[in-house]
Assembly symmetry: C2
Homo-oligomer: 201 residues x 2
């Protein structure tokens, strides 16, 4: 019997997945939770064989949870599930060496199948995503530029950034000017968006 835990914040999907997995004769759903904190409790107490983790769950995200699972050497296999094909998420998941990474745009049969595969020690990834791994671009920004853009993402203004990094106003603006050009953006906001999607900040 494969013991599964589901961490997904959208109630309707969570319930539906749970019901359908229960219908499989070789699987059972140990618990279904709506946030990362509760998920962690279940993982520690119940030691599920497979965790299905949505990336965008409250309190502790699926990626942070996967990191924690790896750090504490839990035996459970991790299957990430998400709506968006963000290269950033995918990259982090791969760095964490999770067993599977699926899009919610796949049929459920694919998920059920994936559960059995990861139990067998196989790796699973949505076909759409496999392609993006080959087309992976490298971050054209320097370290400092990346750092500055990260602060813009946090909502800081030019002045707040130069206070934080002990730089002058002009330097910060120069960095951002360079970033905007390197990313073919038209404004800092757009640059943040582009870099986020690529997983660079």
């Amino acid at each position: 019997m494969i013991r599964v835990m589901i961490a997904e914040d959208q109630h309707m999907l969570r319930g539906a997945l749970s019901s359908l997995i229960e219908l499989e004769t070789d699987m059972e759903v140990l618990a279904e939770v709506s946030d990362g904190d509760k998920a962690w409790e279940v993982i520690e107490k119940e030691k599920p064989d497979v965790c299905i983790l949505d990336i965008e769950i409250p309190v502790v995200s699926g990626l942070e949870l996967a990191e924690k699972i790896r750090a504490t050497e839990q035996s459970c296999k991790v299957l990430m599930v998400t709506t968006f094909a963000r290269p950033g998420y995918l990259q982090k998941a791969i760095d964490l060496e999770v067993e599977g990474y699926l899009l919610k745009d796949e049929p459920i049969d694919y998920l059920i199948d994936a559960i059995r595969k990861v139990i067998n020690g196989e790796r699973v990834i949505s076909t759409d995503l496999a392609a993006t791994l080959f087309m992976k671009e490298t971050n054209p920004m320097t370290e400092r530029e990346t750092e500055v853009l990260r602060l813009v993402k946090e909502g800081l203004t030019t002045n707040q950034i130069c206070d934080r990094l002990f730089l002058t106003k002009g330097t910060v603006r120069n960095y951002l000017s360079a970033v905007i050009q390197k990313l073919y953006a038209e404004s800092r906001q757009q640059a943040v968006k582009i870099a986020s999607e690529k997983g660079w900040i």
Copy 2:
């Protein structure tokens, strides 16, 4: 037998809902589609009793589809389903007099139940949403201000807006200044966000 159509672009959820509805003895799923165009074809040909429409589906949105259904006096009941509790969406759905409006954050049982209720001529709305209807705020912007903000949302700059509306630069900026204050925003972008969520633009 209640004949149901499901229009939902997220494959996993669509399939799951479909399977679970099929398990009910008094319901059958006529078709499950991923966009508004296909949904319309099914509605015209198959005349389902109930349409479950996600608001955010490609090509033709769930709201546009509901409008079309009303305009052509199709007999089918409409159940809107969405992720977000945007008052704007809700307001439009109510204006269209749809039979039900549920959040994906509800359990599936609630959805199944809702299908039976709308068939019986009842109205269904998520409890969370019913509350927001009472707290509905009125748009503090004048017509002209709303119009200008709508153009900002489309991505136009001040200059493009004054060309479009045959106004001077100063006037447009005055309007936006007023809008920003009325909505307690800190920039035009934030004003767009606030007004969108309230359903004013």
